[in-house]
Symmetry: C2
Subunit: 343 residues, 2 copies
């Protein structure tokens, strides 16, 4: 009596009803079923109804792979990031996924583990499977990226731009941002600053490093030391000793994660923050405000980078006029991990 009792056609394996079965059941050709399902062309109303009825009776859902093959279009976009453990990229992923989902697209993620070689093959592979690709904080050298980009299809860069190519990009003015952070420390009386450097292949790192060096050059009496570090909590933690040895009283960390690590490492060494050393991060990840002490940092609109990336990609996919690139200006957020230089 109940509708579900007979379970429809023999579901066999991971079967799935095919368009041919629907066509046969409805007594029409596969072409007609296809037309009805896609609202294409004109099909007589009664026929269309019959097709729709049998389709839903059989529980027909078009096979997405067959569709991709025929149409040359999946409804999937790819995202390649250096490190999924970084809240910055998690936020970009969320922004992208949310925005894409609103337009019926899925996202496929891949993590390159900060390895340019891996990134290169991942990007190529993911691009082939998707309609478009978002490359976040690419660690690829300019020339590799330039060589690769044309083969990747619709591409949007986040946190990176490519002067020689016209690929939409969403960037952050890291130079200005890190300068704000450094100026903040200088204003507090710090004269010896340490920069906990990010991965050498990171464009964000390069921009920050250059900006800091130029600032140090401009200002008399400012000492800057760059300590090789990395981009993770563990990297920051491992740098605590070096920070102490450097004699710096103000620390500019590559990102918030590194800053947290340094905070924690210094804490273990019995160094008071900000009384003896001030630490600032970068990105303003959600937890920056809940550390002890809360972290001074430069805020970056991470979620928005993801959602805007989707918009750019969407324009690209529809051959709509390209949207403008945007450069976000980080906003200095002063919390309690920075204070007056000890004297």
């Amino acid at each position: 009596m109940t509708a579900g009792a007979e379970r429809g056609a023999p579901t066999g394996r991971r079967a799935g009803v095919t368009i041919s079965q629907v066509a046969a059941a409805a007594g029409v050709s596969r072409a007609t079923v296809s037309r009805v399902m896609n609202g294409r062309s004109t099909v007589a109303a009664d026929l269309a109804d019959r097709v729709r009825a049998t389709a839903s009776a059989l529980g027909y859902e078009p096979n997405p792979h067959a569709r991709s093959l025929a149409l040359g279009r999946t409804t999937t976009v790819g995202l390649v990031v250096p490190d999924l453990a970084n809240p910055m990229f998690q936020a970009v992923l969320r922004g992208l996924s949310e925005a894409a989902a609103a337009q019926g697209h899925r996202v496929m993620v891949a993590e390159s583990n900060e390895d340019p070689a891996e990134e290169e093959v991942l990007a190529a592979e993911v691009a082939r499977r998707c309609d478009g690709l978002v490359l976040a904080s690419s660690r690829l050298p300019d020339e590799r990226l330039v060589a690769l980009a044309p083969g990747l299809g619709p591409l949007v860069l986040v946190n990176r731009e490519l002067p020689r190519l016209t690929v939409p990009s969403l960037t952050v003015d890291y130079g200005a941002g890190v300068r704000d952070v450094a100026e903040h420390l200088l204003a507090l009386g710090h004269t010896r600053l340490a920069y906990l450097a990010g991965p050498g292949s990171s464009a964000a790192h390069q921009a920050r490093s250059a900006a800091l060096r130029s600032l140090a050059r401009e200002r008399a009496g400012v000492d800057l030391v760059e300590l090789p570090c990395g981009s993770t909590f563990v990297n920051g933690h491992a740098s605590a000793r070096a920070v102490l040895d450097s004699g710096a009283t103000g620390v500019v960390a590559f990102n918030d994660l590194v800053a947290f690590g340094a905070l924690s490492g210094l804490h273990e060494l019995g160094v008071a923050v900000p009384d003896r050393v001030s630490i600032a991060g970068f990105d303003d990840i959600p937890f920056a405000r809940y550390t002890t002490p809360p972290l001074t940092t430069a805020s970056v609109p991470q979620h928005e980078l993801g959602s805007l990336a989707w918009q750019r990609l969407w324009s690209l996919l529809g051959d709509r006029p390209p949207q403008h690139n945007v450069v976000f200006r980080p906003r200095l957020v002063v919390r309690r991990s920075t204070g007056p230089a000890p004297r």
Copy 2:
């Protein structure tokens, strides 16, 4: 003179070299190219070499969609989670993605926004595009899940089990975990506890709620009040007032995020933690140790849930013998957000 100068064949659109082009160029049939590319059957060594040479000269890469269609197999697995903003699910994603990548698989993520209806269609859709599906903390009622599961193909459940079905599942003994947390508070002298409840549809919430109620029933002189809350930082923050009004001195939050929110909300109300109110979370997300004060919580092996999920899925995909389900026992991690009850 340089190899890259002529750019190979006219790259036309998002072209891509097809197997036919390779076959033509090498003077063999498509079947032979396919055989060579897949190391199938026996192809004479010299022929195979010729095919490989032309393939790489042309930059041939098999079209993944055509392959999926022919083979009925993508190399992609899906992950559906209620909320990508939750570090718990981010960790599961990483664990899964990492493990899957090691075996050449990609992961496609989808976020249901805690909405069972959305989850249902997402799961079905993602499952069709992937070889297998991981459903984390499903918010679906048992009967819906039971009805849905067989149609989803290879499926692994994280944070949920389905007694009536034999689907591999990785769970956490939330009852025991939350009991540990509550006992910890009781041992500190708290007699009135508040539970900041998770989403009603969450199995994790139901388990915790039941365990707490049964504990309260067993112990004389223990008051338990359950406050509707949710699963996010904002939810927790919004509950601060209610916590205060409840008169509870010990708070068991649904998860760490909620605990952070409550921590922050209470701070704004001028309530000292743990002096006036003790707060405990659940999950032990990475940042739990860096809040002010550091959060007492029950640790859950989040990353491992993801990587084990991959192992289960991998077994399923290869028709290998199913692996055993595992139930993780949370470990109480006492930090400084809990302390003796005020008197």
